[in-house]
């Protein structure tokens, strides 16, 4: 099955604030980025960290964010490794330079 988000896909991270462990850091929630590459599949840490045996296995993606989109300033980029369920396709302004 092809990856849901091929390299170059604009994505947006969810703005969730779960009561349990998550690997979507707070500073990167509800932010727009671009997929760098798929990294391979891994158990969703949000579920496995609760000691549950039913963690779904998902593709993890390296996603690149412009500092300006994360912090409102800065000219660098930050790349995070994010599970597929943290992401949705960013339909809006897909051609934006980031």
């Amino acid at each position: 099955m092809p990856d849901r988000f091929p390299p170059g896909t604009p994505v947006r991270t969810f703005r969730h604030d779960p009561p349990h462990h998550t690997r979507l850091p707070r500073y990167a929630r509800g932010k727009r980025g671009v997929v760098v590459e798929p990294e391979g599949h891994a158990e969703l840490a949000d579920v496995s960290a609760q000691g549950r045996g039913d963690a779904p296995v998902e593709q993890v993606y390296a996603v690149r964010f412009a500092a300006r989109d994360l912090w409102g300033e800065g000219d660098h980029h930050v790349v995070l490794d994010l599970w597929e369920s943290y992401l949705e396709a960013d339909e809006e302004d897909a051609a934006d330079e980031r």
């Binding site: 500073y27 390296a62 912090w71 800065g74 660098h76 930050v78 490794d81 994010l82």
Partner: protein, 193 residues
């Protein structure tokens, strides 16, 4: 930039957990030591330095290293049996890379050795994603204004290592001599070679 107080609390918790594991008969102290030794055995920045020196002297190895870090370092006998994926990011004149783990302290232990205390500090983890140029400056690394910085925040099962730029004037050096130039900080991206 060291979080002595927090580290002490964690060390206390770890000792308490170890005691409980032994008391409940889950794991003997000797077995725990074996596991810790095995995970650390041979873990040293000399390993990462060897990988870098090979990449500087063998363009085909370098291409393989950048395409699939895990497979390439296994050619040199590193990361065998590891479930983690290694991604090597190359510094160039245009781009500088630096690694961090903002959620905890993930890091390619086998290639870089035990992580320095500043790498685990709240200050480094929170600031390098926000103002990397200033943080690198505090490490004594002043990058030209035109150099783009990418910060790699290891939030899953990938571990990052920086391939630093080969310094000028090193054409006559052997692979071993080149490896001796590469520091742990250069592999993290907080120093140049």
């Amino acid at each position: 930039m060291s979080g002595d107080h927090a580290d002490a609390t964690i060390a206390q918790r770890v000792r308490r957990l170890e005691t409980l594991l032994e008391d409940k008969g889950v794991l003997s102290g000797a077995r725990l030591d074996e596991i810790i030794d095995a995970s650390l055995s041979g873990a040293s920045p000399a390993n990462g330095a060897r990988v870098v020196a090979r990449a500087w002297t063998d363009p085909e190895f370098k291409a393989r290293l950048l395409a699939d870090g895990t497979a390439a370092v296994r050619e040199l006998g590193f990361m065998e049996g590891s479930y983690q994926r290694l991604r090597v990011v190359e510094n160039t004149e245009a781009t500088h890379n630096v690694i961090v783990c903002t959620l905890c302290s993930c890091y390619p232990l086998r290639l870089l050795g035990p992580s320095p205390s500043w790498y685990k500090s709240e200050a480094y983890r929170s600031r390098v994603v926000r103002e990397p140029r200033a943080v690198l400056g505090e490490f004594g690394l002043d990058l030209p204004a035109g150099t783009e910085i990418t910060v790699w925040d290891s939030s899953a099962e990938t571990r990052y290592m920086v391939l630093p730029r080969r310094p000028d004037g090193t054409d006559g050096l052997t692979e071993e001599q080149l490896a001796a130039l590469v520091t742990r900080n250069a592999l993290i991206g907080t120093a140049a070679v």
